[in-house]
Symmetry: C2
Subunit: 149 residues, 2 copies
DNA sequence: TTATTTATTTGCAGTATGCAAGTATTAGCG
DNA sequence: CGCTAATACTTGCATACTGCAAATAAATAA
């Protein structure tokens, strides 16, 4: 298991490059962070500010401003939770959903291009390995959380 | 191969969290970017500014300042190439090598902690999959380079 | 009711970013 | 050789991201 760190470093970097170029639709020119906010809002059902901020590991104050920017772009909506009006529930506007869908399609196209370099069997193995790694990182408490204990 | 993007998104994020907490030794409190600069300078043999900047996908002007900061910290050295004095060759100082080694050890400890959640066989599979993915990304020209063609 | 906790927002100060322009050195070409 | 163009790198500047501290607003506890 020699050079594990090196391989991971390289993978992370290349996936970072991928991310950079995958957030531009004709209408909007989003940053990777903005793109991942759309992604998470869609993934979680009507999450609060804090939930998404924690998922992404960004400070709530920074996150608050990022959301403001996305609202100004007309992609995100904030609705106070009727049961507790301190909490703002986040959701995508119609345009936000469209934008997220376009970005998702583009990302998938890029990923397909990468995976097409592999055999069917390798594709399966790699996909399954990513799941394994994700689970392992989740189990580790010394590692891979925004604010380690 | 359902939810591939989602798994990759999550993996990238968790590896990003890992990276954040792995750049602090007792002596220095480096940013992930600074840490990766040390890593690359060591990996490439006496690289020029441009080479490292391009590897990392950062603008040369930003990179120039990052290197200045590392020089001020006493971790990096710049030596003009005698054959072409426009070129500055980068190398680590003794302290830079020590710092890089400490970060490397810490990163490996974190990675070990993660991989220990997997069976021997799974570890092998995951490692090999990362290599496969790295090669696939390298082959793809639509993807995963800092400035796509 | 009043004090405390929780969710979010704003003030501010420090840092990172990249484009445009600048300097220094080398290469090309008459 | 002498001049222009190209290359490697650095600085000026304007912008954006960051997070801590403090403020606001709403809910809970006492």
């Amino acid at each position: 298991m020699h050079d594990l760190r090196e391989e991971i470093q390289i993978m992370t970097r290349r996936l970072g490059f991928l991310n950079r170029n995958c957030c531009r639709t004709d209408e909007h020119d989003l940053s990777p962070i903005q793109s991942s906010i759309l992604f998470e809002i869609e993934r979680q059902h009507a999450p609060s500010m804090q939930q998404v901020a924690e998922t992404l590991g960004t400070d709530i104050t920074t996150f608050s401003r990022q959301v403001q920017a996305l609202i100004k772009l007309g992609l995100v909506k904030k609705t106070p939770n009727p049961d507790d009006r301190r909490i703002q529930l986040l959701s995508l506007t119609t345009e936000g959903r469209q934008t997220a869908a376009r970005i998702d399609a583009e990302m998938n196209a890029y990923l397909k291009d990468v995976f097409d370099k592999l055999s069917e069997e390798e594709q399966e193995t790699v996909f399954r390995s990513i799941q394994l790694l994700n689970n392992a990182m989740l189990k580790s408490d010394r590692c891979c959380t925004p604010f380690p204990g």
